[in-house]
């Protein structure tokens, strides 16, 4: 029988679940276009000098050649990386994909990438290790010859990086995953996952102040959807400890505390 009184929440869930079948891709990232241009070697030298704020007269011929070669190598690495279907990789994986295995070469290229303004570095804790996440700058996209991609989720690059891997993790574990899912109280949750009757919410916490997260947690938990678990993915152990303390000390969370867990976001990043 038709039910005219179907709730808006139920509709939103059914729409989110059933509409997934229409889409071929499941990635957070949307790459708008492929590489379409390369630069001549002459312009490489000029661009490298311009990038680090020097002119040709500042260098000897040998230095100029070395700078050009380094610039070319960095552009090659950046191009390989940004053209991958999934560029959300740790630094080591980027070098591996680009075929750079030597440690000294990696150090040299990383320094050069910073110098040319191609990347910004973020740190993410994975179990007990701190790993580097590179954020490509607009210059990097320009040099790789592709447009900056669009994302389905809000937040900075590190937020995108983490939410992408959380989504992959959810799909691999049989969940239907929606990024930026709007709850009935108009509060978007970073990721909502469900499998049968089980509903899990994810919030990605990459920046201070963490006090603002408490209000988010309350809004997430008091929704009609009643998540079985609310997982807060944080950047490192220090943030984890601080957030756990904030949650433990806030009496407004008494009824929800057993459903909340704080985890290291890096632990959910795939190894691919």
């Amino acid at each position: 029988m038709l039910r005219k009184d179907i709730s808006i929440l139920e509709l939103a869930l059914l729409s989110a679940q059933r509409s997934e079948q229409f889409y071929v891709e499941t990635k957070v990232l949307e790459k708008p276009e492929s590489a379409d241009q390369r630069h001549s070697s002459n312009s490489d030298a000029a661009q490298a000098e311009q990038a680090i704020g020097m002119t040709a007269s500042d260098h000897s011929v040998k230095e100029r050649c070395t700078l050009t070669e380094t610039f070319k190598s960095v552009v090659a690495v950046i191009t390989v990386w940004l053209n991958l279907a999934n560029p959300f990789l740790f630094q080591g994986a980027i070098f591996k994909r680009a075929g750079i295995t030597s440690g000294s070469a990696q150090t040299k290229l990383k320094k050069a990438a910073f110098r040319f303004g191609f990347i910004i570095e973020h740190k993410l804790q994975v179990f007990k290790t701190i790993l580097s996440v590179w954020e490509p700058t607009d210059i990097a996209y320009q040099k790789a010859g592709i447009q900056k991609p669009h994302y389905h989720s809000k937040g900075g690059y590190l937020h995108q990086f983490v939410i992408h891997h959380i989504k992959e993790w959810g799909i691999q574990n049989g969940f239907v995953v929606k990024i930026e899912f709007f709850l009935t109280n108009n509060k978007p949750v970073d990721a909502a996952m469900w499998k049968g009757e089980t509903v899990i919410f994810w919030e990605v916490v990459m920046s201070e102040p963490m006090e603002k997260e408490i209000q988010n947690i309350i809004k997430d938990c008091e929704t009609d959807l009643q998540p079985e678990r609310l997982t807060l993915a944080v950047k490192d152990g220090k943030m984890k400890k601080k957030l756990e303390q904030l949650i433990a000390n806030d009496s407004r969370l008494d009824t929800y505390r057993d459903r909340i867990e704080v985890v290291l976001a890096g632990n959910f990043v795939g190894k691919s």
Binding site: M1, L2, L14, S15, R18, E30, S34, Q147, P149, H152
Partner: protein
């Protein structure tokens, strides 16, 4: 396959059927500039660009600017090979970056187009500029309804026309002709999209044009309205089965129905006198006479 464009969530209860997809706009992602399968961007882009002119007050010269830029972007990125098409956002950014002399015609077109695109993107955002790959086979071969609740009526009409155009162009380009009904498109509150004056204004009103072309390609329409007297003539001319539900508001509605279905004066008088709720009058061209319908009262 049933495709319903739902303006006020009247069809939400269809969600109870497991195979039916009731789509909230927030879950719908597409790229309006991406042509349907089998259609080149050269063919699709001009067709698409003609549609906003019906709803967003864009003149021919202005729409040609969108066509030129969209086409240029497709060529630049070799879209037909890579399968990745520019979006309206990309078009917006390119047009915005153009420098024209302030007093030139082109500067005026640029201003108009930027204004219209800003409005469009503010309403639909990423939902019409997405690079998510919509699987056309599933999209085309599934029964679905999409909720357009909460967006302005002109934009609702624009959305409906673009989606209808994609389905029609797909079937035309692939020569998918059919004597039977393949796709049934449901337009609720049809009076807002088939107004009489839409046909008399400058330019072609595309939705009535599609209505005339669709039958050959197995596409049918259910158009519901509460003010028949306000409906464009071509809708009455291009639809076969007509049903008037009892208790219609205006007396003129009965006369128009009678005139459109070829009723005699006696039959017209009959339907005017018997207007019980739950009763309806139908005319199917396959049957020589109009007939009455009655919806049984179910407690």
């Amino acid at each position: 396959m049933l495709k319903i464009f739902d303006r006020k969530m009247d069809y939400a209860s269809l969600s109870v059927f497991a195979g039916f997809v009731y789509w909230m706009l927030g879950d719908y992602y597409t790229n309006w500039l991406q042509p349907p399968p089998g259609v080149s961007h050269k063919a699709w882009v001009p067709i698409f660009c003609e549609i906003p002119s019906n709803y967003l007050d864009i003149r021919v010269a202005g729409r040609n600017l969108i066509t030129t830029v969209a086409d240029w972007l497709c060529e630049k990125h070799n879209s037909s090979v890579s399968g990745v098409y520019p979006t309206l956002k990309d078009v917006y950014h390119v047009i915005r970056s153009k420098k024209y002399p302030a007093v030139s015609h082109l500067a005026r077109y640029q201003e108009t187009i930027l204004n219209r695109l800003e409005g469009l993107l503010a309403v639909f955002g990423d939902h019409i500029c997405s690079q998510r790959r919509l699987d056309w086979n599933i999209f085309h071969n599934t029964n679905w309804a999409i909720s357009l609740y909460g967006i302005p009526t002109d934009y609702q009409n624009l959305f409906i026309t673009v989606t209808t155009a994609k389905i029609l162009v797909y079937r035309m380009a692939n020569n998918l002709r059919s004597s039977g009904l393949v796709d049934l498109l449901v337009f609720d509150e049809g009076s807002t999209m088939f107004r009489k004056w839409y046909e008399s204004r400058e330019g072609t009103y595309l939705l009535t044009d599609y209505l005339a072309k669709c039958r050959e390609f197995g596409i049918g329409f259910v158009i519901g309205t509460q003010t028949l007297s306000n409906l464009a003539d071509s809708v009455l001319a291009n639809t076969s089965i007509k049903i008037l539900v009892g208790g219609a508001g205006l007396g003129a509605d009965y006369n128009i129905f009678a005139s459109a279905t070829g009723m005699t004066p006696e039959q017209t008088e009959f339907i005017k006198r018997f207007t019980m709720p739950g009763q309806a009058y139908g005319k199917d061209p396959r049957y020589p006479y109009p007939f009455t319908l009655e919806v049984p009262r179910i407690a």
